[in-house]
Symmetry: C2
């Protein structure tokens, strides 16, 4: 299943593997507590602090991206390799964005400002077609490497 290789010096534990596998299965980045509860549900024994400790380590090692969605105050964690997506502010529907237009922009930034670009994050706030016809208001976003 999960075949993400851990950095040198880190051991493979059932909790760690379970966390990575769960992240792999989810398109949308999850809250630490969601991860904890989902895994508990699946019968995996772990504690919330183990979840936090692992996510923190994975994030520092670049395998996981930690981010806050608009109007949320709990961090979300997702695999760094995941794709960009849109989230409808109304119904939370997810739409994967296939071609991130950032690459072209990146060239421009490098050229004009001389910056080395290490990564980016684009958040787009919108309402999907279905909800558009009803009422509307909230948002959301993406990650990339």
């Amino acid at each position: 299943m999960a075949n993400i290789k851990l950095p040198e010096g880190y051991k493979t534990t059932k909790q760690r593997q379970a966390i990575l596998q769960l992240l792999e299965e989810n398109v949308v980045p999850m809250h630490a507590e969601d991860i904890y509860l989902k895994l508990k549900e699946k019968g995996i024994e772990l504690s919330l602090s183990t979840v936090y400790r692992n996510l923190d380590m994975l994030q520092r090692k670049g395998l996981v991206v930690k981010a806050y969605m608009l109007n949320e105050d709990k961090a979300r964690f997702g695999l760094a390799s995941k794709k960009n997506y849109l989230v409808c502010q109304e119904c939370r529907k997810i739409v994967i964005i296939d071609n991130c237009p950032f690459e072209k922009f990146k060239e421009e930034l490098i050229e004009v400002h001389g910056f080395d670009i290490l990564g980016h994050s684009i958040e787009v706030y919108g309402v999907c077609p279905e909800c558009k016809s009803k009422v509307s208001q909230n948002f959301e976003s993406s990650q990339n490497k």
Copy 2:
């Protein structure tokens, strides 16, 4: 200083005005506490909770944007009208991005996915030319917690 008009029903207080003015003066979104300390320094009497309460109200009214920068766990607040910019991960230098390339992308999203795009936010992580030459090999340390 050009003043921002408050939404209907909200009173003009010296604390509120000071907060807005400070946000207006800063290109980079600030932490609630920074705002509190800077204003205290300027001799304005206010409390941290007043700062939070105002930022929250302004954010709900759409005048202020609340966001978390990469590797930070305190929210930052900035005027909704501010421009996009680059931040060097080494020296924190700010470079304003003049032509946001998002407009073209926006058309595409609307066309392909049918989403109504309400707004967006782009964060780019990079290293400026000056820092690139000095510390590029030490970059990892700055990314770790």
